[in-house]
């Protein structure tokens, strides 16, 4: 399931939904990304997430489909917010449910790593009264690369 939305979500509900009505599930792995109170150049007041609406849904669906093809999963979820968010607020949730713990872990990790380099979202940070666009991290590229098929 893919949700691109301005409003918040409930991680507990999402975990419950990943295994609801399916007692074949043995493990659910979830990652929640939050707005931190700091940026590279100091304290962060807020950030704004811009995205490319038409493409976002398509890209997230492709990422989810790829996870479902690679691992034996019972369910997956990706929720990504956009708009202005303050420190402590939830930005993103990815989750995977499987009969097998390793599959749930790897798929969840894969979802966030690929999302970070493929989903068209851009963060603008507000620090010290100034706004600036966040640069992409080389570590994110490296993290995503590990999932490339050999």
């Amino acid at each position: 399931m893919i949700f691109v939305q301005e409003h918040d979500f409930d991680p507990g509900d999402e975990i419950a939904k990943l295994s609801a009505g399916n007692t074949h599930v043995g493990g659910v792995c979830v990652f929640v990304g939050l707005v931190r109170d700091f940026a590279d150049d100091g304290a962060l007041q807020a950030m704004t997430l811009e995205h490319y609406p038409g493409m976002t849904q398509k890209q997230l669906e492709a990422i989810e489909r790829e996870a479902l093809e690679r691992w034996p999963l019972d369910a997956t979820v990706i929720i990504h917010r956009y708009g202005r968010l303050q420190p402590g607020e939830r930005i993103v949730l990815v989750g995977a449910a499987s009969a097998h713990r390793e599959a749930a872990f790897e798929a969840c990790h894969f979802l966030i790593d690929w999302l970070k380099t493929k989903a068209p979202f851009w963060k603008k940070e507000e620090t010290q009264g100034r706004e600036h666009w966040v640069d992409a991290k080389h570590t994110d590229d490296a993290a995503a690369l590990r999932w490339n098929k050999k």
Binding site: G54, K58, K116, T117, A119, W122, D135
Partner: protein, 83 residues
């Protein structure tokens, strides 16, 4: 064709979306970028360093050597930073 700009490319060009006819002689993204750059001003600035510009044609990530045609939706943006 429809051209979209995101993040700082939108701020530099001061355009979020525009519709134009495929400029003469343009066959690929690189050609389109050259044509946009030739407008000067914010457009020249936005594409000054092509190495940090990413592109999607019809909502798929592609390289600058990807073909473009009338009717395409072409989007320019910085490397993504969501998640």
């Amino acid at each position: 064709m429809k051209i979209l700009y995101f993040a700082w490319l939108k701020e530099k060009t001061k355009v979020s979306e525009e519709t134009l006819s495929l400029p003469k002689g343009v066959r690929d993204v690189a050609g389109l970028v050259a044509a946009l750059k030739a407008r000067g001003g914010g457009f020249a600035e936005a594409f000054a360093n092509e190495a940090i510009v990413r592109v999607a044609v019809n909502q798929e990530h592609v390289g600058f050597d990807h073909a473009v045609a009338d009717g395409d939706e072409v989007a320019f943006f910085p490397p993504v930073t969501g998640g």
